[in-house]
């Protein structure tokens, strides 16, 4: 068994159901080790290294920039095909997400951030089903966490800027006199929920979806190969159909999760800018 936590392929290809060596599925099944990569450069022990997800993240950046560069570098009043597609995407995020939640006047400032977030996350998610890459970069918690941190810093500082210290505190705690005796409890829960749970769930929602999606795809792919032996071929076929179904489903989930992430971002910004009540 040649597999190790930083293997090149996700599993040992010689292991099959009804195989002679009698190896079980638990030896090839995807797990946490499927999300670990051997550094392409640098040491595994030190903190200075370069691995597949980093490569994909940077490549994804280049692809996103390349796409928008090709579309918007020399834009025309009467758009070409590529510009039209890019404009549709841009307009979808601008109108459908930012203007809808924050409003046109206040939201205009945040359009570049939200558009960048949406297309960056979408690209990172899309790596999941792009051949050879086949790994969603956002399934490593660092990437969603970095993005969620940017959003968190933005909306918290916006809250302080807009409402001052006391106002921001009221905003975070959902201060409302009419609650009476429950107010201290409510304020504690709200503060905890807004300042601690919110950024965590913001990052983890994206991470967990991509993590689970990748695990499912891996599971069915590995199982198809594992069962491809003797009578297992029939099971293998079913599993392979599931691979196709899950791939299509992932394609949908990738876009949805990018949309959810930016929608939440806008809703946080809107909450920070809203008048306290």
């Amino acid at each position: 068994m040649s597999a190790d936590p930083t293997q090149t392929l996700a599993f040992d290809t010689s292991c099959h159901l009804f195989g002679n060596d009698g190896c079980g599925f638990d030896t090839v099944a995807p797990g946490l080790h499927s999300f670990l990569f051997k550094p392409l450069w640098g040491g595994a022990d030190s903190n200075v290294y370069f691995n597949k997800t980093m490569l994909l993240a940077l490549l994804g950046s280049i692809i996103v920039i390349g796409f928008f560069w090709a579309a918007f570098a020399r834009p025309k009043v009467v758009p070409g095909k590529l510009q039209m597609v890019a404009e549709a995407g841009y307009d979808f995020v601008r109108r459908g997400v930012v203007y809808e939640t924050i409003g046109k006047k206040e939201g205009e400032k945040y359009v570049p951030l939200v558009v960048s977030l949406f297309f960056f996350i979408w690209m990172m998610n899309l790596w999941s089903i792009i051949p050879i890459a086949q790994f969603p970069v956002t399934a490593i918690i660092s990437y969603p966490a970095a993005l969620a941190a940017i959003v968190y810093i933005l909306w918290v500082s916006l809250t302080f800027k807009r409402h001052g210290f006391v106002g921001a505190f009221k905003n975070f705690t959902g201060y409302d006199k009419s609650l009476g005796a429950v107010l201290p409890l409510s304020m504690t829960i709200e503060l905890f929920s807004n300042l601690l749970v919110r950024p965590f769930t913001h990052a983890v929602r994206l991470f967990a979806n991509m993590f689970a999606g990748h695990t499912l795809l891996l599971l069915f792919t590995v199982a198809s190969w594992y069962m491809l032996n003797g009578v297992g071929i029939a099971y293998s076929g079913v599993s392979f159909v599931m691979v196709l179904v899950m791939t299509a489903f992932e394609l949908f989930i990738q876009a949805v999760q990018a949309y959810v992430f930016v929608l939440l971002t806008c809703s946080f910004i809107q909450g920070a800018l809203a008048e306290s009540h």
Binding site: D26, L36, I65, W69, A71, F72, F119, I141, A145, A146
Partner: protein
């Protein structure tokens, strides 16, 4: 669980604890995208979208301007046409009136000229008649005296007598003429 997976699970630790190098690279990758989009590409497209909006609205405005101009020109034409009609009617009226007075004047003038001519004719006729009567009276006198002289062999040269005789003769002639009438 095989020792391999156990090992992997141990090494993988908690998947919710972010490895720092990936965090840094993730930030860098996103900041690059954000930088390009926010500083260059999105302002680019915003400018063009604005131009397009202006082009469309400008087109609408132009069309509206053209329409109002056409409307005003039409009204102007209508006003001019009405004025021209009015003017024409006025001119016709004037011409009719002028014509009528002209005809009346001409008629009066003609009347006057006719009367003049008639009067002149009458006077001429009268004068002619008078001179003719005068001449006739003299000629008739001469003839009569000549004749009478021849007949009576007596010269009736004496003017006084002559006149008396002639007058008497003529009076007789006139009386005869009146009686014959």
């Amino acid at each position: 669980m095989s020792p391999l997976v156990q090992l992997a699970a141990e090494e993988a630790e908690n998947p919710l604890i972010p490895p720092i190098p990936e965090l840094v690279i993730g930030l860098i990758a996103f900041v690059i995208v954000f930088g390009f989009l926010a500083k260059k590409l999105l302002p680019n497209i915003n400018k063009v979208l604005e131009q397009r909006r202006e082009a469309i609205e400008g087109g609408i405005e132009k069309a509206e301007a053209a329409q109002t101009e056409a409307q005003s020109v039409l009204e102007q034409y209508k006003a001019q046409l009405a004025e021209a009609r009015h003017e024409a009617a006025r001119l016709r009226q004037e011409a009719q009136e002028q014509g009528a007075t002209l005809i009346a004047e001409m008629r009066a003038e003609g009347q006057r000229q006719r009367e003049e001519i008639v009067a002149a004719g009458h006077a001429q006729i009268e004068a002619d008649r008078k001179s003719a009567a005068q001449a006739l009276r003299q000629d008739v006198g001469h003839l009569a005296t000549d004749l009478a002289g021849k007949l009576v062999g007596e010269s009736l040269e004496d003017h006084a007598r002559q006149s008396r005789v002639i007058d008497r003769f003529l009076d007789e002639l006139e009386e005869k003429a009146e009686a014959a009438r």
